[in-house]
Symmetry: C2
Subunit: 462 residues, 2 copies
Amino acid sequence: MIKNNHLEYFISVVGKENVKSDKAHLIAYCYDATKERFEPDAVVFPRHEQDVSDVLKYCNDNKIVIVPRGAGSGFTGGALPSEGGIILSLERHMNKLLEIDMQNLLGVVQPGLINMEFQKAVEEVGLFYPPDPASEHYSTLGGNVSENAGGMRAAKYGITKDYVVALRAVLPNGEIIRAGKKTIKDVAGYNTAGILIASEGTLAIITEITLKLIPKPKFKQTYMGVFPDVNKAMNAVFKSLASGANPVAMEFLDALVIKALKQKFPQVSLPENAGGILVGDVDGSSQAEVDEQLKTLKDSFAQYGSTEFIIAKDDEEAAKLWFARRNASPATAIYGTKKLNEDISVPRSKLPEALEEIYKIGDKYGFNVPCFGHAGDGNIHVNVMVKDKTNEKEMHDGHKAIEEIFQLVVDMGGTLSGEHGIGLSKAPFMNIAFSQAELELFKSIKKAFDPNNILNPHKMGL
Amino acid sequence: MIKNNHLEYFISVVGKENVKSDKAHLIAYCYDATKERFEPDAVVFPRHEQDVSDVLKYCNDNKIVIVPRGAGSGFTGGALPSEGGIILSLERHMNKLLEIDMQNLLGVVQPGLINMEFQKAVEEVGLFYPPDPASEHYSTLGGNVSENAGGMRAAKYGITKDYVVALRAVLPNGEIIRAGKKTIKDVAGYNTAGILIASEGTLAIITEITLKLIPKPKFKQTYMGVFPDVNKAMNAVFKSLASGANPVAMEFLDALVIKALKQKFPQVSLPENAGGILVGDVDGSSQAEVDEQLKTLKDSFAQYGSTEFIIAKDDEEAAKLWFARRNASPATAIYGTKKLNEDISVPRSKLPEALEEIYKIGDKYGFNVPCFGHAGDGNIHVNVMVKDKTNEKEMHDGHKAIEEIFQLVVDMGGTLSGEHGIGLSKAPFMNIAFSQAELELFKSIKKAFDPNNILNPHKMGL
């Protein structure tokens, strides 16, 4: 319960209409995509950077916990007020596209701007912002930066961090800092932007983001490679990429996902006997470049055992090819009532072995573990399907399976999370991935920015 | 003067042959490209990561200053032992290419490996490491990472930070940490690698670097655009890039540099009446792609006032076109006995205005200020030419001019350094570029890693 004098201070800064502590608002801001719930003590909607500064300074002086929030679409609880305190909601007012700088190919945005709105705006003027997390229609760019969001186009174009040129941010003590400039090269001072990216709102509140844009590729085409089994498909992933293929995306579906799609979506047209599928786009500045890319992929896939290579002739055919991938997640529901869904990432060459071992862990506990995702960059969405979520033993086994999968992945040189971050959900597994010295260093970094630990405390296990 | 018992400890760790405190070694390790000289108390050559750990832990416990050093080719004094202490020299033993991972397109190296040796090794197997600082033939990859080195190919391919996938490093307390994995996506924990890049050896000693590689482009061609003046050339830079040109490099020479080249190198073949020149390579996976790039550049340059566009037909012609750019630096010597050389960087669209204002500052003090460099990424090498370096007033004016140039650049949204870092040389200007809050944050970050301030103290103004 927050004291009235605190609320009065927030009202004096942002105005009455931008401070909410009624039950309806506390409930509206208590969730994210984890489906965990923690009610905040109040929700504050800053109008601009100076509001953020004033609120943070006050919270720091009074040791009030503050949790920044964009769309609340995170999968690991990063925006949940698990320790109570204030939700600082950036999506209501601080959601503007400030500038598209056509001369320097940069976009300047406020953190609450939705990714897709930005994509659309820059595409209208012939430019392109590649990072496309699955949440692109509702997640905010501030959230994307805080989680270092990936997406399907990462195989060719990289992830959010590859596009962040500069940030403005407010430190817990209320000081406003700039990190980076509108320049391509800048080696003056520490790379503060580098450490703010993926820091899950634990170090500072990002108030402005300058993003790199590229010319929009003029030509694009969708392909699908069909393989008898997922092992052959995964081999084709890293071998085709190592031999020079450079598709925008290279997504995969395993046999369990393919089976689920056919059952759940009878209209889906997937080749008979497909045991593993790779699907994606290629793009380029000319049709010749696209054709060359398609040829490289087709030849390479054939060399590694594909039985079929389909090229979409038009947008309608492309949509059909993509339908399976886009509906992979809902389709897996046929295997259980609860999906324990993790986004592990491994070096690409480890994909065949990683999947083989993941299935073995599933078998050991009696779970179906359908897998799909961003094979082109080694990022797998692993789904341990619990048949009956009310069965305590089964749930317990599910979590044990997940823990074994994490250990496996780390042993292979991979990571707990390719896209979703650590937040609350993965915090218990940090000691699988990091040494004591590394965890201590994280704590020291946290303390350097936030000595009173008011910003999103306990997230990332800190 | 270092105590004998300290030297004995170092000898017990790395062996007698790897600890030097004789005068010849102290002199050999007292300089860098700044020509400033500071003798260390001793030079230690670690054989491997564990040596680095043992030496650091001891220095931390005994508050002994330690300065990491690669090739000593830095331009801002980052490797100079300005506070005495131990030079930790990584180029003698820790200089191995550990792995070229063909399956994941990665290279794993020790910090003392020379950039060009790495480039050659990866090109032999059809891969490509783009960052090519002018020092590529002698600078080490550890130094490149610590300074976030750029180079000519940055216009298309980015800079060192864009290629660092993972690091191993030793903290001042001797703890060995890993930062990043051999994965494309990794959002678990803070981005420690992000803050170690460009930290100039002040936070940790880097002991292993995993670098991203790309397939080597199969086709390459050199172009030169000739303009009546540098203003038109600078306009063509950002406008051609904004309209979709994507050259590997877009280097520029201004009128003073062109004049100096003709005088110093009579054999150079530069077009008459050239007041500004852009030169660079384009590349691609097909000759058609290269041709298209050349056409885009030619058309765009013509639109913005070029008088001539030359395409090299073969390697010999390419070498001729590049000769002018490669000899720009020595040519400027005709204007004075002392070059005050700074590597400022501005948003590309500010290049025309930046140069105009820089020349005005030169005129005000009576200096020739020939400029050249990496126009394609906004990074200008500004050379304030002091005619007589023994003339105190002239030297003083030269430094005043440099300070005015820094202020100008920062006011334009640019930065003190695009490539060379801050080190000692630019430390006095940090308060031009950063607010008090930002400088305080840098100090907090430094303290989080190095609470006893033993690692490269006072560099970057810390």
